[in-house]
Amino acid sequence: MTPSTISHQETLIESSQKFNAPRLIDRIFFWLTVALAVSVGLILLWITWSLLSIAFPAIAEFNIGFLFSQVWNPVEDAYGALPQIYGTIVSSIVALLFAIPLGVGVAVFLSENFLPRKILTPIAFVIELLAAIPSVVYGMWGIFVFIPFILPGLQAIYGTFGWLPFFSTQPSTRQLFATALVLAIMILPTIIAISRDSLVSTPPELRQGAYGLGATRWETLTRVLVPSALSGIIGSIMLALGRALGETMAAAMLIGNSNRVSASLFAPASTISALIANQFGEASGLQRSALFYEALILMIMTLLVNMLAEVIVNRFQQVE
């Protein structure tokens, strides 16, 4: 062989060896990212499984009857989740009743040009701030400011509408209704942000068409834009519901932790997360297991709501 071919072969060998290491690193890197990506799904499974495994003694002991029992008695080791399930669902629904009209209203305001951008941007920023305030601060604000502030109003409602079952007890300083109002404030930013996005991303042709037919701004909004953004708005409501169901600190501080189902919204109540926050510290054995059982119920509830929200929001993104 001539020297030139040898050197050529050498460089070939050299280069193939040189390129082997990056190839290997590349393969390792690829599979590392795959493994971590897959483990996001595994973490969800792991969370569910770890709840399930600690909850198992309680599941074996109380079975499905746990969902319908009103007892919570650590002395006799008898537990039931009905008051908490009821409180969790009712407080979230009452919160939604207030947060939906408010949130959609604000979203419409922010998506339209009622005010110049210079004023709208700070308002949007201020509302985003609502989401940044920790829930424990909402809880403290509820204790020291909000409940003392609204209690006289609730007294008046009790005075006039006391014959209705929802308002049939003397408003207590810790109660379900006030908790639901604080929850409503806390979930507002979720509804506003996503509803506004879906309103803003409606095709401009819709608005132009409606204006061209002689519709006013509000006719366009109520009959064209809001209906076309509806799936995004519903998705935002589901996400907000998920957040309200799982909200812990505000509920634990404000709802009063009473293990009774009461028709009156002005009575103390309990939620799953509030019960866990309050009792977990001293719990052991079957009581701890029962608390994990409750957590499992909450996990399933929020998973269902969030998956539904995910499907709805995805559909809206595809239409877009």
């Binding site: 590349d26 990506a37 920790p134 403290m140 404030i185 997360s273 866990i276």
Partner: protein
């Protein structure tokens, strides 16, 4: 001239409507509808902004007083027992920083690499769609469940409440935020850059590690700061993981005080001094979160491409 006048008259009478009759009769109601709705929406905004104004006012009026009264001691002393005056929360400040840092140490590499898979390698295949779905579902998991999860896998295994358990609980909540913002950053890199990388024969790892990831660093930093802002205020996941500590914690394997748990404990306590400290701590937490969020905003504006 006269003919054009005639056509005008004919045209205006085609529908047998007197000029102005149509819009007067109809628009009155329609205008009112519009005005009423605008009024409603404006009052919605007022109602939404009111609680925030009240919270900020109470934080400033209650928290600032306490911070100014015992200026350095709030930051340098330990939390007071019941019925004792004064005191501060130095251990809670370091605890909050430490647990958030631990959470970031776990969730940042995890989140960034996951995002690299879904955007760079997966590119919308079934697995990356599934991962995105799981990320969104994970971000909806209640924070107290993250706490119970960390209790189950760390506290029970180690036999003690610890800063590590707190960090694990927080990392579950931080991960979805980091994955999402990193994905956005990776997607913001123009196609030409990737084509160029293929053109010069770079492997995926070389391309990602030396060009694509550095270029999307502002987004990653935004995700990390947003996740830190969320973690700094979380209480529920720390209640049964980091627990609380009246004193300075001496290691990662010990219970540790955090600002948020201190606020919870002292807000529901019946002692005035502890309530005041809770307001001061709340002010510190909110200011911390605000500062972090503003930092996050300024980071995103530094786009490279």
């Amino acid at each position: 001239m006269s003919s054009s006048n005639q056509t005008d008259q004919i045209n205006s009478n085609v529908y047998d409507i007197a000029p102005g009759e149509f819009d007067q009769g109809m628009t009155q109601g329609r205008k009112m509808f519009g005005n009423v709705m605008t009024g409603l929406v404006l009052s919605c905004v007022a109602i939404a902004v009111l609680p925030l104004a009240s919270i900020l006012f109470m934080l400033l009026s209650n928290g600032l007083v306490r911070l100014f009264q015992d200026f350095p001691s709030v930051f340098t002393e330990l939390p007071p027992p019941p019925l004792v005056d004064g005191g501060g929360f130095r251990n809670a400040i370091t605890g909050t920083l430490l647990t958030c840092l631990l959470g970031a140490l776990i969730s940042v590499p995890f989140g960034v690499l996951t995002a690299i898979y879904t955007v760079e390698f997966g590119q919308g295949n079934k697995l990356s769609q599934f991962v995105r779905f799981c990320t969104n579902v994970l971000s909806g998991v209640p924070s107290i469940i993250a706490g119970l999860f960390a209790y189950g896998i760390v506290v029970l295994a180690m036999g003690t409440f610890s800063a590590i358990a707190g960090g694990v609980a927080l990392s579950v909540l931080m991960m979805p935020i980091i994955i999402r913002t990193t994905e956005e950053g990776l997607k913001s890199i123009p196609r030409e850059v990737r084509q160029g990388l293929v053109g010069i024969g770079a492997t995926n790892f070389q391309g990602v590690s030396s060009v694509i990831l550095p270029a999307s660093l502002p987004f990653v930093a935004t995700g990390v700061t947003l996740a830190l802002a969320r973690a700094a205020g979380e209480t529920a996941p720390l209640l049964f993981t980091a627990l609380f500590n009246q004193y300075d914690s001496r290691g990662l394997r010990e219970p540790i005080a955090t600002l948020s748990v201190l606020i919870y404990n002292y807000a529901i306590a019946p002692y005035k001094n502890q309530n005041e400290l809770a307001w001061a701590a709340a002010l510190i937490v909110v200011l911390l979160i605000l500062a972090i969020s503003i930092l996050a905003r300024s980071l995103t504006s530094k786009k490279i491409y």
